[in-house]
């Protein structure tokens, strides 16, 4: 199915179109990361409808738009977004592969301090894996950490 020309269309309307016309895609990928030394590993799971939008192309704004909004929100005098138009008026990104979509999602939803320096320092802070590589039960969930030995192997 061809994506309509969406530049300038509110993102909410694009998502409504996607919900009506695209089947969700349950990704097998998971992103495991550690952002605080005293907390357990976090696991980012892509949303099926979002993944369908990413694979379809022409719907989602460039990830840099979210970074711009995050910069605004980090200002001490922030009360309300005034550059929301970036979400709607920036040329949407084209079709992505599932791997490219995961990379986009990392840049959108993981803390920048993690993905910008994930392989620096003496511990790997982030890893992309398949769902089946995660523990199969949630026993001791709050103690989960990235297995550094497994990665080295």
């Amino acid at each position: 199915m061809q994506t309509p020309e969406f530049q300038g269309t509110p993102l909410f309307d694009r998502l409504c179109w996607a919900k009506e016309n695209l089947d969700g895609v349950q990704s097998d990928y998971r992103v495991v990361y550690e952002d605080k030394i005293d907390e357990c590993a976090k696991i980012l799971v892509p949303d099926p409808n979002w993944m369908a939008c990413a694979l379809q192309g022409g719907i989602l704004p460039p990830v840099e738009v979210y970074h711009e909004l995050a910069k605004d929100e980090a200002q001490p005098d922030f009360t309300k977004h005034t550059r929301g138009y970036l979400l709607h008026e920036t040329q949407p990104v084209g079709r992505m592969t599932e791997e490219e979509a995961i990379e986009y999602l990392i840049k959108k939803d993981c803390p920048q301090a993690v993905w910008k320096t994930y392989n620096e320092g003496n511990r790997l802070k982030m890893v992309i894996c398949k769902k089946k590589q995660l523990p199969q039960t949630r026993e001791w969930r709050n103690a989960w950490k990235i297995d550094q030995d497994l990665i080295a192997a």
Binding site: P4, L15, I43, W50, L60, E73, T79, G84, D109, R138
Partner: protein
């Protein structure tokens, strides 16, 4: 754009009066989801969500595809059976919620639903 479009500021019923369409636009949920955190975390159904981050037992952050205009949006949530849901923090682009038992300890549930209303960015 190839989509059909009806533009109207007011909907009028023959006897029951009229309604400003801004009520419809502003009153619609802007994002919603139901997820399972009891086995491997997964989103079952959703709208307007880019992903969910499993942050620990009963602890999950939902990120939105279309950010809200600020962190001042309205959220409601439910967890299956006796589960309760608290929100821990929120920003314009995400909300972190914790599901707990009636004795206030974090717990994973296989059906957790969150609905979000408010002004979009």
């Amino acid at each position: 754009m190839a989509l059909g479009k009806i533009k109207a500021d007011t909907l009028e019923h023959s006897t029951a009066g009229s309604l400003d369409t801004s009520y419809v636009v502003n009153g619609s949920a802007k994002a919603w989801l139901k997820y399972d955190q009891a086995t491997t975390t997964a989103i079952d159904v959703s709208f307007g969500v880019s992903g969910i981050t499993d942050e620990g037992t009963g602890d999950a952050t939902t990120a939105f595809t279309n950010s809200f205009s600020s962190a001042d949006f309205v959220h409601s949530g439910f967890a299956k059976e006796n589960g309760l849901i608290n929100w821990k923090s929120c920003a314009a682009g995400n909300i972190r919620c914790v599901t707990i038992t009636t004795s206030a300890s974090n717990a994973d549930y296989d059906e957790v639903a969150i609905i979000l209303h408010g002004d979009l960015a």
